[in-house]
């Protein structure tokens, strides 16, 4: 699958009302691989911090003896970050307002992760 097709799929996620951006990141180095986002979203920073979060989550799961995380959901007062594991080391990440349909976003990310693999 080409980067252009990845970006098309990410645009589909971004079309969900309330989603600020969707990106594929490399969790190993915290960099953006592909993205579709509103201008105000600092995607490079999102990638860096998401990767750090995923790294910590992985260590936490490992310490509990529960394998590797398949997704990480961070829900705050005014928004949420959803991350779904793709083929290593890629992760799909979406950032959304609090009123976005997070369930739909999660499903789209999971479907996309399957296609990516």
């Amino acid at each position: 699958m080409s980067i252009a097709r990845w970006e098309n799929a990410l645009r589909e996620v971004t079309r969900v009302p309330g989603v600020l951006g969707a990106l594929i990141i490399s969790a190993d180095d915290g960099l953006v691989v592909a993205e579709s986002s509103m201008d105000e979203l600092a995607t490079a920073d999102v990638a860096a911090l998401s990767a750090a979060l995923i790294l910590r989550a992985s260590r936490c799961m490992s310490a509990m003896g529960k394998g590797a995380p398949g997704s990480v959901h961070l829900v705050g007062d005014a928004g949420a970050l959803l991350a779904v594991a793709g083929p290593a080391p890629l992760w799909l990440v979406a950032v959304a307002h609090g009123d976005a349909e997070l369930g739909r976003v999660r499903l789209l990310l999971r479907d996309f992760a399957v296609v990516l693999a």
Binding site: D29, G30, L31, A44, D45, A48, L49, A52, L55
Partner: protein, 155 residues
């Protein structure tokens, strides 16, 4: 951590905490050390500073060759166990360079992000240049003579 310019201390401390970097070196574009963290021998600091400044100078030459006059923002080398981030940034006292070594507890993305913040904070905190006329008291020559005589014994 050793810091020559005191206003670098707070931004560098925050950078190290946030990025989990193992080693950090801040230098002028000609390799004079401003601050360092994690190095244990001064000769390593000087070597790293000279080599880092040389690498960035070389990449600037490459940028000119490949018609990229704005140059490259940073040089990154990702090894199996450690990575290196090398980037220049502008301050009121000229262009400075940061050399950062990070391990698997960090990522190049985190280093990039917090380095950008560090560069902004240093630029904002840097005071104006000291007027050179105020640097040395007049009549320093006799002290210089005495100092060199003491340094070189009874030459």
């Amino acid at each position: 951590m050793r810091v020559l310019e005191p206003w670098v201390t707070a931004p560098l401390t925050e950078f190290l905490r946030e990025s989990s970097a193992r080693l950090a070196l801040v230098m002028t574009s000609s390799g004079q050390v401003i601050a360092q963290h994690g190095f244990t021998r001064s000769v390593d600091v000087m070597s790293a500073a000279a080599l880092g400044a040389g690498i960035l100078a070389t990449t600037t030459e490459i940028a000119t060759m490949v018609d990229a006059p704005a140059g490259f923002g940073a040089v990154v080398h990702q090894g199996a166990a450690q990575g290196i981030w090398l980037a220049g940034f502008d301050t009121p006292r000229g262009r400075w360079i940061g050399l950062v070594v990070f391990g698997p507890e960090s990522t190049v993305g985190l280093v990039r992000m917090f380095f950008a913040r560090f560069a902004e904070q240093v630029a904002a905190a840097t005071p104006a240049v000291v007027p050179v006329r105020d640097v040395l008291a007049e009549g320093f020559e006799r002290e210089l003579d005495d100092s060199l005589r003491a340094l070189f014994g009874s030459r």
